[in-house]
Amino acid sequence: MEIDPFIFRLSIFILSIFVGYYVVWSVTPSLHTPLMSVTNAISSVIIVGAIISALAGSSESIFETSNIFGYLAILLAAVNIFGGFLVTQRMLQMYKKKKK
């Protein structure tokens, strides 16, 4: 019997939760704020879905409702991607060691 591809995706999902669990526990508490802003940025990879929505259909129908929702989602996700990574970078730049 063939395995449903859904099961594969579910396996990836569950394994990733475990990876996430161990990786996040090893994050130093002083970097918890950058952790939140960077997880924010990476969860905007949802832009992948937004791009597919926006470009769905033929050239004549680029402004159907579903496309418009796609464009709007691109806009929102783009704010987050640029904002999230840049603000994280700005914060991380500030963490300095004692000058010896």
């Binding site: 669990y21 994050v27 950058p34 929702f69």
Partner: protein, 464 residues
Amino acid sequence: MSANLSALFYLISGILFILALRGLSSPETSRQGNYFGIAGMIIAIIVTFLSIGNFGTGILYVFIFLIIGGSIGAFIAFRIPMTAMPELVAGFHSLVGLAAVFVAISAFLKPEAFSLGTVGNIHLASLVEMSLGGAIGAITFSGSIIAFLKLRGIMSGAPLTFKGQHIINLLLGLTIFFLIYYLCLSQSSYIFWSIVIISFFLGVLLIIPIGGADMPVVISMLNSYSGWAAAGIGFTLENTALIITGALVGSSGAILSYIMCKGMNRSFFNVILGGWGATDQKANQDNKEQKPVKNGNADDAAFLMKNASSVIIVPGYGMAVAQAQHALREMVDALKKNGVKVSYAIHPVAGRMPGHMNVLLAEANVPYDEVFELEEINNDFANCDVAYVIGANDVTNPVAKSDPQSPIYGMPVLDVEKSKSVLFVKRSLSPGYAGIDNDLFYRDNTLMLFADAKKMTEEIVKSL
């Protein structure tokens, strides 16, 4: 690009995201980690374009929206003051949530674009995945908006409770599940829109009963939700990068919520159900007796600290509100010139989001190896001459260790009272968020400095 090849590239970007989080295990590797994250994002976006292949004029609009959004994001990222990080993160969560809702709507309206079937005949699994993703996204969106308004001070931070609140929330939650089931039977678009709208309401209702100082939990929780929403959409789109990221972000937010709850010795449900402090405060005002406090000024404080051999600084949310972190650093520099050993003690729930104090201190050029977590530094108070409490309150209250009747009993607190003398910068004797009088104010070794945190610290710098 073939579907198999693009799936492999999505896997690579998922791995890069894992490395981005892994980098945060120490400040040295963190910057590199952020570059991994950026690389993962670029790969995911390029692969998406390549796998679509022939795009018409729509691509032009995609880039226009990408550039507009990117410029807004970059502008915000460079301009935002570090004290406003909690509301920024809450605002960003709301955007992820809304983007998830939009993608879910789009997938519902045009399932063929994602090969999920046709309108009115969408695969059942996909229907469940997209409606769950959309519902969680909607809850994340409206919940984050409320959190944002509360953090920004546009909406009162006080918990807003009414009778039957939790039952209404429970009923709304059950309704969403029932509607998803019904959606699978009928494929009706009315049902789909109802799910989205009810979820928006539920998000608002879930966050309004939670008070200002519980915001660290709320932000972490919404962070987690935004991850699960992304994962839901990831299943719909059969996209590995989204599934991996969703799982990472979901578990990251959940762990942070757990750490924050532990920092307050409260269960997750206790925080979510909200309303803490609203009742305790009244009881406290009744039996309030006038107890003597020792009142000091900047010169006293400067004298005490100059002659100390070690000083521990305990910052809290008040420091962020007063923007006192730079003045504080100047004070510490002056003390160090006098040969005083200075370190910082950070309580897990100090501030309005996890790690908030650390970022503010880093912004004021405080080296991160002088900043310690509760467990690392708590034993040092006994050997320290002066503890300088600036903008913190409940997290120093010894009542948490001594009085089983107190609502904060059992909460881990900083043993500030063990140091030889305590300098407590505060505007008044009013109780902290938990509504409990702080025993520390009336101790013999406590000197109260009644002033704005920033002004007082600047005055101390002058008299040093």
